[in-house]
Point group: C2
Chain length 175, copies 2
């Protein structure tokens, strides 16, 4: 299963940390790329690229000014669009069906998502119908679609690596 994330409506000032978290969650939990739509933000792109270089694995972050063009492009590449929204169908009810798809782009909105996105998406999916966090929703959707296997994902060619400990920190670094 190929997984991508599309972040809609990024606002440089207000969303910098939330969008960064979305990008890092996408990478850590098994997506191959994230596309940022909305305001241009080189700092986030560079920051995430740096993490990907240091911590290994393959991950791409790109910017696109138009979400419409981006959604269309992914559809042409045969991605199914899974829009994360508190108004959608519960992930626990639709995960099994979505897991059969080969290419999935998870669409994560910021403040106000245009109606068009609901209509263009193949699935509108909720992680509870409660207000909480697009970062958490993205994480749970990635987790459910991969059935937890993403937690064991390897990140080859890492320069920094953590060895899990019951207490304290163990970090190894190489050049």
């Amino acid at each position: 299963m190929k997984l991508a994330v599309i972040r809609l409506g990024h606002r440089t000032e207000r969303d910098k940390r939330i969008t960064t978290h979305c990008a890092l969650v996408a990478r850590a939990l098994g997506a191959e790329q994230i596309v940022l739509c909305g305001e241009k933000d080189d700092k986030i792109v560079e920051g995430v690229e740096k993490v990907a270089r240091q911590w290994g694995g393959k991950f791409y972050i790109t910017y696109s000014p138009s979400y419409r063009t981006t959604l269309r492009k992914f559809k042409k590449q045969k991605y199914r669009l899974v829009h994360a929204t508190m108004y959608g169908e519960p992930i626990q009810q639709v995960a099994k069906k979505i897991r059969k798809e080969k290419k999935i782009a998870i669409v994560v909105g910021a403040e106000k998502v245009p109606r068009e996105v609901y209509d263009e998406s193949d699935y509108n999916v909720s992680v509870t119908s409660q207000p909480h966090s697009e970062v958490a929703a993205l994480a749970i959707i990635l987790h459910e679609l991969q059935d937890g296997r993403e937690l064991d994902k390897k990140f080859p060619k890492a320069k920094i690596k953590i060895t899990p400990q019951t207490r304290g920190k163990k970090v190894s670094k190489r050049n």
Copy 2:
């Protein structure tokens, strides 16, 4: 299982959205309360209380200036402390064991977590050993400890309620 969340080292300006997301994720995904430690921030407390009033269920948010006192208080009340940290043991390996505990407080740090927190915690638990997001880590830990049942949690006496839709939004309100 009783679940609480303790948010460490909140900084009013820098963390306002991330801490709010942590609180809302705690509520939406089955915790009963969150305690904010660090800088005092009435706005977040009031905002989360408002969500809890409108969206139903029981959820408490409180502030404590001292994380040390807070950890001690929870320990006295027989909570086991589960510290979310990228340096800890993989959640998928320890979830089964932790699920047997009756009272769990998940400790979520901001920037730099004092060594003491690693030592005082009963479990140091990671959601991958990759850098990503405390919001996502909290969500996955809550999800794993409740085995996904939290997604079906009911929120009684809600004034606002969403009915899941394949497309579009369905919201009902009452006074």
